[in-house]
Structures are given as structure tokens and as C-alpha cells.
């Protein structure tokens, strides 16, 4: 949790506010207009599985490009230097490609409506209920943390009292999702994606001119912080010391494999965007299309973090009172004239709201389909579940607003809870990947793998690391190691339990395990999908090659 320093107040004027207000009007308009398309619960939760790939792809990347991510990655840039690119090129692209090429046929093809629902059919109720409940609680909590962070930023930049920001942003999200469901969440995410580009590109351009271009930026940073600060892999040998507190092995295995695959392939807030695509090919292309913009986002997020560090060398020190998280607001204040400034403020607020909306729209789906319809009120009419979805949305947002208020007094606890939930995705990925490729994996193995992996990560992080039984130099480094521990522990427990318990009959696994297809699933490809530039394999491998090439300038 961060507190923005005093003195970050932006010199906004009427023009900036008109830009902001116009955005809020359009957001509501999208909600009202999308309402006409909601006839069934499938329309509300998954846009009727009807959206084109470019829309779901941009929503996929925008759902991740919340304001916490933008401010946080700029902060990482200022704190750790060019190492931050690992969160993108090793820590996102391979996982997104894997989701599109390998996992999406199981997700989309089996017609499940959520990530936990896949667990239900592959393993059974125990792991399904566990993951549904944890996901629901985590979503509401993270929505609240998002809202609280928004309130702090808005208070610092615009001078609104915190509760005003919480109530206004919360109500807007509540209204447009309750009305238009996932369609209006996704449409607003696509819109937010372009507005945030229009905000960050000018900021980066002016900032680069200020510090003398890329050359000037690199020279200043090299002089001040040493060569490794502008290198992706310099100083990451095993045993050497670097600010990230991680070596190449924990970066590749911990961040690049465990954490990143856990997040991108099993976080329903992301996968939901792909499940709303109009056919299997579009669903596969969703994360692949998203991979391309994702690759270049460091240019407009990490670079501003570095620029802020050059302009304000005291950033992050207690003396200046400015924190790393202030990097982007600081540049907005110093470099942007009214007009573009309004676009930047709008982009930031839009990113906060989109981040929260992604949590809320995935929460209402999991709660309604996987908890309410599966265990509480079975077999009701579709209208009943549609109404439940709307009510749950409202309840979720209000709980999020409550969480935001609580967060202001217990921000440390919130940080711990977020760390805790982040550990849950890793064993979840382990359970998925083993379940998709090994028919023998049993229902009991799914549940115990999930639980033991999560517990192992927590033991490693909170006990071994925090109590300094083992020495890891930083929180980030400890995160990477804990993720590896979670994956290995979950995997070992799953294999052991599977070998001792009775497997599910093979007929019940059709379409859920590698090498099988579900009955009646063969869907004819849509017209035009056979075009070469729409082939998932080409898009996917292209992204991998391009991400590897991105490393070249920072590794020589």
C-alpha cells in the first residue's frame, strides 16, 4: 500500500475536467446500451460467447493493465531498473502463449463457464468449492484494495476527499456492470486501453526529451547506479548480489514459470475474457493478440519510472518524501500541460475502474455459477440466475467499498492477504496442468494438491523467510522462491495421492484431458479463420520470438 506525498496536486483546469466527465458519461452510456443485449445468464456472464478476438484480446491485456499495475511497474522500474522487464518478457508472454495454444482448447472446448468449473468436471466438488470460495473472497478483497489505492491517488492529485472517490468510482462500476454485465466491462476495458495509451505515450515522449533521449537516459543511469541497472541479466548470476534479490534461475523458474503461468492461465479475471470469444479460434487468439501490446508496455510504463528517477534522484528515499509509486504522477505534474493532463488523469482513473471491474465481473460469475447454482440453489430457471448475478454484482461492489474503508486502517494486513492469495494461483496451475495431461490424476489429488501447495508456499514465505530461517535478500526474491516451492509441493502431493486413490472413469474425462475430445464438440471453423495471420500457432510463436528479441538490446 502506498501513500502519495503531499505536493503532487495537479494543476487541472476546466478542460481537464470536461475530458474526465465526458469519459464517465461514456462509461455509463456503454452500460445502458449493452443492457439491451442481456437476455440470458450467458449474455450477462460471458457475453453470450459471441465477441470478436480483437475485442477480447484488448480486454485481456487491459484487465491486467489496472492502475495498480501501471503505478507499481513504474515503481519497480525506478527501484530495480531494467530488471523490471522480466515481468513482461519472461513473466507474461510465454504464459499467455501457453494459455492460447495449449490450454484454451480444454477451457473453451469443454464449454465451462469459469476456471473453477473446469475443476468440478475434471476433479470433483472438493477442489471446485475450495477454489471458488478462495477466488470469490480474493476478488472482492482485491477490488477493495484497488478502490482504496484509487482514493489515495485521487486525493493527492485532484484533492477529492477519499470517501468521495471510493463512492463515485464504486457506484459507476456497480451501475455499468449490473446493467450490461461482462459485455459492458469488456467494452469499457477496450476503451480504457486506448485512453491509457493516449495518456502514457505523450508522457514518455516529453520525458525522454527532458532527459536527452534513450541515450541520455542510459548514460545518466549508468553513471549513477552502475552498468547492471540498465541491463536485464547483468548481476543475476547465482550467488551475486542485486537489488531484486533473485538470480537467473529463480527469475526463470519462479517468476517466468510458476508465478506467471499461475496468474495468466488460471486467474479467471483474465481467462473469462477469452471464454467470451465467439469461437474456439477467437478464444485461442485472445491471449495471443494480447501478447503483442503487452510486450511493448514496458516502453510506456517502465521507461517513465526510469525517467522519474533521473529527474528526481531522491525518489524512494525517506528524505524527499516521494515514494517509487509516485513516479508517474510526478511526471504528469511536471511535464504535461492542460489538455493532455486531463487525458492522463482520465486514463489513470479509467485504469483503476477497469481493474476493479475485471475483479467484480469475474467474481459475480464464479459466485453465481460455482457457488450459488452449484451448491445453494440448484436447478432454478435461467432468469433466477441472471437476477442473482445482478444482485451479487451489487453486493460485491458494496463489499469492495467496505474493504476499501477497512484497508485505510489495516493496510499492512491487506498486503499480507494479497501475498497470500497470490500463492493460491501457483498450485492451481499445477493441478490444472497435471490434470490436463495425466488421466490418472484423481479427484482427491486435485484437492490435496491445491491445499498442500498453498500451505507450502505460505510456510516458506511467512515462516522460513519472514522469520529468517533461510536468507533471501528481498520480498520479490522470496516470492519467486515460494512460488517454486508451491509448485513442487503441489505436484509431489498430487502424484502421491493419485497413486493411492481410484482414478475417475476415462469416459467422464472426454474433452478435459489431453488426447480426448468432448462429444459433439467438433465445431466448424468460422469463415475467414483459416487466413494465415489468424493461425494461433503462428501468432503464438511469433510472440515468443519477438519477446526473446526484445531482450537483445539489454543483454549485450
Amino acid at each position: 500500500m502506498h501513500c502519495l506525498a503531499e505536493g503532487l496536486r495537479l494543476p487541472t483546469n476546466a478542460l481537464d475536467y470536461s475530458i474526465l466527465i465526458l469519459y464517465f458519461v461514456v462509461v455509463l452510456g456503454v452500460g445502458f446500451a449493452a443492457r439491451a443485449s442481456i437476455k440470458t445468464s450467458l449474455d450477462f456472464f460471458l457475453s453470450g460467447r459471441s465477441l470478436p478476438a480483437w475485442v477480447t484480446g484488448l480486454a485481456f491485456v487491459a484487465a491486467n493493465l489496472g492502475a495498480l499495475e501501471i503505478l507499481g511497474m513504474a515503481a519497480n522500474g525506478a527501484q530495480y531498473g531494467v530488471y523490471t522487464v522480466h515481468w513482461y518478457w519472461v513473466g507474461a508472454i510465454p504464459a499467455m502463449v501457453f494459455l492460447g495454444l495449449v490450454m484454451m482448447p480444454f477451457y473453451y472446448g469443454s464449454k465451462v463457464r469459469s476456471v473453477p468449473e473446469f475443476l468440478l468436471h475434471r476433479y470433483g466438488p472438493a477442489s471446485h468449492l475450495l477454489s471458488s470460495i478462495i477466488f470469490s473472497v480474493a476478488s472482492v478483497l482485491i477490488a477493495g484494495v484497488n478502490l482504496y489505492a484509487l482514493a489515495i491517488v485521487v486525493e493527492a492529485l485532484l484533492g477529492w476527499p477519499q470517501w468521495v472517490a471510493i463512492v463515485v468510482a464504486g457506484l459507476f462500476v456497480l451501475v455499468y456492470i449490473t446493467l450490461g454485465g461482462l459485455s459492458s466491462a469488456i467494452y469499457n476495458e477496450v476503451l480504457q486501453f486506448f485512453v491509457i495509451l493516449a495518456a502514457l505515450i505523450p508522457l514518455t515522449v516529453v520525458g525522454l526529451k527532458r532527459v536527452g533521449g534513450f541515450g541520455g537516459l542510459a548514460d545518466t543511469l549508468n553513471d549513477r547506479y552502475g552498468e547492471n541497472f540498465t541491463s536485464a541479466w547483468g548481476g543475476t548470476g547465482i550467488g551475486s548480489v542485486n537489488p531484486l534479490g533473485a538470480n537467473w534461475l529463480t527469475i526463470v523458474l519462479g517468476l517466468g514459470f510458476c508465478l506467471s503461468f499461475g496468474y495468466w492461465t488460471t486467474n479467471f479475471a483474465e481467462v473469462q475474457r477469452a471464454l467470451s470469444a465467439r469461437n474456439l479460434s477467437a478464444a485461442q487468439r485472445t491471449p495471443l493478440i494480447a501478447a503483442y501490446p503487452k510486450m511493448f508496455i514496458p516502453l510506456i510504463v517502465v521507461v517513465p519510472g526510469l525517467i522519474a528517477l533521473v529527474i528526481e534522484p531522491g525518489l524512494g528515499s525517506t528524505k524527499s518524501g516521494l515514494q517509487y509509486n509516485d513516479a508517474i504522477p510526478l511526471l504528469m505534474r511536471d511535464l504535461l500541460p492542460n489538455g493532455v493532463l486531463g487525458v492522463a488523469v482520465t486514463g489513470l482513473l479509467a485504469a483503476f475502474m477497469a481493474g476493479m471491474a475485471a475483479n467484480v465481473s469475474s467474481f459475480n460469475t464464479v459466485f453465481t455459477n460455482d457457488i450459488w447454482a452449484a451448491y445453494v440453489r440448484k436447478g432454478r430457471s435461467d432468469e433466477h440466475y441472471l437476477l442473482t448475478g445482478r444482485v451479487v454484482t451489487a453486493v460485491g461492489v458494496v463489499c469492495g467499498m467496505g474493504t476499501a474503508v477497512i484497508a485505510s486502517s489495516f493496510s499492512n494486513i491487506m498486503n499480507y492477504l494479497q501475498t497470500l492469495f497470490s500463492f493460491f494461483n501457483v498450485p492451481l496451475f499445477c493441478v490444472f496442468i497435471i490434470g490436463m495431461f495425466w488421466r490418472r490424476a484423481t479427484a482427491a489429488a486435485g484437492f490435496w494438491g491445491l491445499l498442500s501447495g498453498t500451505v507450502a508456499a505460505m510456510i516458506n514465505y511467512f515462516w522460513l523467510y519472514k522469520a529468517q530461517v533461510i536468507s533471501i535478500p528481498s520480498d520479490q526474491g522470496a516470492n519467486f522462491v515460494s512460488a517454486i516451492v508451491a509448485f513442487v509441493a503441489g505436484g509431489v502431493v498430487m502424484v502421491t495421492v493419485s497413486l493411492c486413490t481410484k482414478p475417475k472413469p476415462v469416459e467422464s474425462l472426454a474433452g478435459l484431458v489431453y488426447g480426448t475430445t468432448s462429444p459433439g464438440m467438433a465445431e466448424p471453423p468460422a469463415v475467414g479463420d483459416e487466413a494465415w495471420y489468424r493461425r494461433p500457432a503462428l501468432l503464438g510463436w511469433g510472440a515468443i520470438v519477438l519477446a526473446a528479441l526484445c531482450y537483445v538490446p539489454f543483454s549485450l
Partner: protein, 108 residues
């Protein structure tokens, strides 16, 4: 066995009744419209730029540049919508589809 796959039939049935494909408006219209308006607003701020603003942004008329780019992006989206209107929805939903589609969401 048929029990196991009941949820798939349920989803197929809902997909048949779904109104999203036929009645959801095209997002290109919204992006195009908003960026054209934003583009005009920001470009105007760029044309009437003050010396102080120019100095703040390192002597780049950033409002003008950003405004023009946003305007062009908005127009490109509207052009794209014009050239390739949204594809017809699934071949045969139960009610006969109206001959023209897309704009019946009104609003924009």
C-alpha cells in the same frame, strides 16, 4: 454419462437464446466517437497553446500532437466500422434475424 455433459447442453441452449451477437452494439463506434471528440478538444488546446505550456512540455506542442493522433485514431475506427460492418451473427438463431444489424442498440 449423459449426466456428466448436461452442463454442455445447457450452455448450448443458452447460446441459442443469447441476444449478445444480434443486439450488442459495435464497440468501434464508441472508441471512434470518443476519440474524435477528445481529439478535437485536445487539438484546440494545442492550437491555442501558451508559452508556459510549451516550456513545461520541453518545447513540444504535445497537445497538438496528441490531439491530432487521437483524432486520426478515432477516424480510423469509424472508417473501419464503415468498411467492414460487424459480421452477421450465428447462421440460424430461432427468430429470423433482421436484415440490417448492429445499429439497433441506439444510443451513440
Amino acid at each position: 454419462m449423459s449426466d456428466e455433459y448436461e452442463y454442455q447442453h445447457q450452455v448450448e441452449e443458452l447460446e441459442g437464446k443469447s441476444a449478445s451477437a444480434a443486439r450488442l452494439f459495435d464497440v468501434r463506434r464508441i472508441i471512434g466517437g470518443l476519440f474524435v471528440i477528445y481529439g478535437i478538444m485536445v487539438t484546440l488546446a494545442g492550437i491555442t497553446v501558451s508559452d508556459a505550456d510549451l516550456k513545461k512540455a520541453e518545447n513540444i506542442n504535445i497537445n497538438l500532437w496528441t490531439g491530432v493522433c487521437m483524432l486520426v485514431l478515432g477516424l480510423l475506427f469509424l472508417l473501419w466500422l464503415r468498411l467492414r460492418p460487424s459480421a452477421p451473427p450465428h447462421p440460424a438463431p430461432e427468430p429470423p434475424t433482421p436484415p440490417e444489424e448492429g445499429p439497433n442498440a441506439g444510443g451513440s
